[in-house]
């Protein structure tokens, strides 16, 4: 599904990602771990299409399509979702309105008519129930005045509504209490199927108690220095990032 080959990325001449290789197949959950400032968010942004970075080498394919040929919104419509580490506020735009616009734009891309109101409402109620979203949250403006936890929950809620084929969650677990963490995990686990894939970027092993990854990668200093099964996360938790630092 996603295939990253020898990807090199820099910003203002400073190389941040230095040869990333990653294959993600449908049905898989990949966890990417690593200390702060190693390029995890950069990798997520590049896949989503943020243009402040320069790609100095390599390619990223999504279902065989060169992602660098697609705009941000085209990638989204192709089924790529990014759960932001720092979601922005959009004052005056209700979550309902925002999501209906997004869903309809994605449907338009696929040649479908706008979603009928009853269908939209049913879908929303289902997602709300699943994620234990408070009933008035969806009429609030997108992220405006939300707590850190509410913002993250909102990202997962949007994911549940948009049903992407590839969801990249960038430290969605940071700053969440255990209940919120469970909700995030539930969102992922409920959506998880043989047709979609997840890249879970996290700092801690904690989230992986609830979302069992198929693969764990350790990103360090712009490179994937170690890949393994879920046990790698435990090992990392136990030995700390110093262990990586020493062994590279």
């Amino acid at each position: 599904m996603l295939s990253i080959r020898d990807l090199k990325v820099s910003i203002n001449g400073k190389e941040i990602l230095k040869e990333i290789n990653l294959e993600v197949m449908a049905g898989e959950v990949h966890a990417i771990m690593g200390p702060n400032g190693t390029g995890k968010s950069t990798l997520a942004s590049i896949i989503a299409g943020r243009d402040v970075f320069e790609v100095s080498g390599g390619q990223v394919l999504f279902d065989g399509k060169n992602l660098f040929d697609l705009s941000v919104e085209q990638r989204a419509c192709e089924g790529i979702f990014l759960g932001f580490q720092y979601p922005v506020e959009i004052p005056g735009v209700s979550i309902v309105n925002f999501l209906r616009t997004a869903i309809n734009e994605q449907r338009k891309y696929k040649g479908l008519d706008p979603i009928p109101a009853p269908e939209f409402l049913a879908k929303m109620n289902e997602a709300k129930k699943m994620l234990d979203v408070h009933s008035n949250m969806t009429s609030r403006s997108v992220n405006e005045g939300f707590s850190g936890g509410e913002k993250k929950k909102n990202e997962i809620f949007q994911m549940a509504m948009l049903q992407p084929r590839l969801a990249i969650l960038d430290e969605t677990d940071s700053g969440l209490d255990i209940d919120a963490l469970r909700v995030v995990a539930k969102g992922v686990n409920e959506l998880r199927s043989k047709d979609n894939a997840f890249i879970i970027i996290t700092h801690y092993q904690r989230l992986l108690d609830y979302i069992i990854p198929d693969f764990v990668h350790i990103l360090f200093d712009g490179r994937i220095v170690k890949s393994g099964s879920k046990e790698l996360a435990f090992e990392l938790e136990e030995k700390g990032y110093d262990w990586i630092r020493k062994s590279t």
């Binding site: 989503a48 299409g49 943020r50 243009d51 705009s71 941000v72 919104e73 989204a76 419509c77 979702f81 990014l82 932001f84 979601p87 922005v88 959009i90 004052p91 005056g92 735009v93 309105n97 925002f98 999501l99 616009t101 997004a102 869903i103 734009e105 994605q106 891309y109 403006s141 949007q158 948009l162």
Partner: protein
């Protein structure tokens, strides 16, 4: 701002004006120029009683002694008032009995504007007065309204049928010498709407006037007078459009509102005069005096405006809060794009005790436009416990446009509470990226963000109007990115 976004901005802010068509109607037109004879001819044409001619001539003589104001943050070439036609009206058959007798071209015009004059196919609950060039061509629902004692007709009809009311109230809020453009209007106004809500009546329909400039080189000078008697209520809507022309057209209107004790008037405008092309050629010069007086205790006047059109906007809908406990409100969204210039705001004059006013102004500038808020809050000595809250926000799309704020406060009473908040912001790259990541393209993202930004104002518009206004905001700004 990245180059890409600047490109998109440039591309999409050049959206064409969709009401720029011209209708070929048979017209009755005066030659260009203005003098006392023009005014006499105009008054005679309209078969006006002597007091009207007197009023016009006095205003004209005042106007001759006045100077065009130059204090606004606006730049435009000087206007040649002798190069303007002061009367142009569609020739119509006398005494229209039914819609069948209205010129089909005219009906077509209003259909294109999305306004149905056909009472059968009407929007529920909206009565329409349609004014094309200088003359009201059709007012719908007059009979329904008459049952409640409501008078809703063209200004000309009011002069004929209710001269006493016109004489009693006209120019009591905006005197002829109030300002240069008000004097000009008072001299040459040709039509407009008149509305009278009797004591205790809650008007069952939204009253609505659509103004359309059609003929070339024609000035439009309409006059609206709304009188809400004790304990009455009315919601009034005004919409306007004009053909796309390469020369500028002058529009100098007056709106007066009088609210008696316990009365409430809600006045909503979606102003979409032709704004000129993307190079700044053509467009309407809009110099308008709108003022209401809360004459009685506990009365309320609320102005809501969405300003997207005109090359030049000079407009300050105001409220004189004379009655005790009266309330004045001003909610405004002003959008400027390309080379448009707007200098708009309000005046809240607190005279009565416990008077309250609220001002919410949202300026949105794109392209090379200039957008200024100018507002006065005045509290006189005897106005104890006056309150004002002003919030004045500017949103910039791109870096070639300007936003300015000119708040004036004259407070003569130590018991008043006057609050002023102002912000200037841009649509951030992060907001756009967030929207785009969800599949929403740049244009739609901007429309979404701008509508969110304007929401506090738009929510005060009546339902059908709000939907129109949202679309209009999106079209006016398509693609502009900050």
């Amino acid at each position: 701002m990245s180059n890409d976004q600047q490109n998109i901005l440039d591309e999409v802010t050049s959206q064409e004006y969709k009401y720029g068509f011209y209708t070929d109607l048979e017209m009755d037109i005066f030659p260009k120029g203005l003098n006392e004879d023009t005014i006499r001819a105009l008054s005679a044409k309209k078969n006006e009683p002597p007091f009207m001619l007197e009023f016009r001539l006095n205003a004209y003589r005042k106007w001759l002694t006045m100077k065009e104001p130059d204090w606004a943050h606006l730049k435009y070439p000087s206007i040649d008032y002798q190069d303007i036609i002061y009367y142009a009206a569609p020739k119509k058959k006398p005494e229209l009995e039914s819609l069948d007798q209205v010129d089909p071209e005219l009906i077509e015009t209003f259909n294109k504007l999305g306004i149905s004059l056909d009472e059968q196919k009407r929007l529920t609950g909206v009565a329409v007065d349609a004014v094309i060039d200088s003359v009201s061509v059709k007012t719908t629902f007059q009979e329904t309204l008459a049952k409640h004692g409501i008078i809703f007709c063209s200004f000309s009809e009011a002069v004929q049928n209710h001269p006493d009311l016109v004489e009693k109230y006209m120019a009591t809020v905006v005197p002829p010498d109030d300002n240069y453009f008000a004097a000009l209007n008072s001299a040459v106004f040709s039509d407009g709407s008149f509305c009278f809500i009797p004591k205790g009546v809650r008007c069952p329909l939204e009253l609505s006037t659509y103004f359309r400039i059609n003929a070339a080189n024609t000035g439009q000078f309409e006059r609206t007078l709304i009188i809400a008697e004790e304990g009455s209520y009315v919601s009034y809507l005004e919409g306007c459009t004009a053909p796309a022309r390469s020369e500028n057209q002058l529009h100098a209107a007056i709106v007066e509102i009088i609210a008696m004790k316990d009365a409430e008037v809600k006045y909503s405008t979606v102003q979409n005069w032709y704004p000129g092309n993307k190079n700044g050629e053509g467009g309407v010069y809009n110099f308008v005096t709108k003022r209401g007086i809360c004459k009685g205790n506990n009365s309320k006047i609320s102005w809501t405006q969405v300003e997207t059109g005109s090359a030049i906007t000079w407009k300050y809908p105001s409220v004189i809060l004379q009655g005790d406990n009266s309330i004045g409100e001003f909610y405004s969204v002003a959008v400027t794009n390309n080379h448009q210039q707007a200098d708009t705001g309000t005046k809240m004059i607190h005279i009565g005790k416990n008077t309250r006013s609220t001002i919410i102004s949202k300026g949105i500038s794109a392209g090379k436009s200039n957008n200024s808020y100018r507002g006065l809050v005045k509290v006189i000595k005897r106005a104890v416990n006056a309150r004002n809250f002003t919030q004045c926000d500017s949103l910039l799309l791109g870096d070639k446009c300007g936003a300015h704020t000119f708040p004036y406060i004259h407070n003569e009473n130590s018991s008043s509470i006057i609050e002023h908040e102002a912000t200037t912001s841009k649509i951030s790259e992060d907001q756009l990226f967030y929207c785009k990541q969800r599949g929403i393209d740049t244009e739609n993202a901007i429309a979404l963000i701008v509508n969110g930004y304007a929401k506090e104002v738009l929510k005060h518009l009546p339902m059908e109007f709000a939907v129109e206004a949202q679309k209009l905001l999106a079209v006016s700004l398509e693609g502009s990115v900050g």
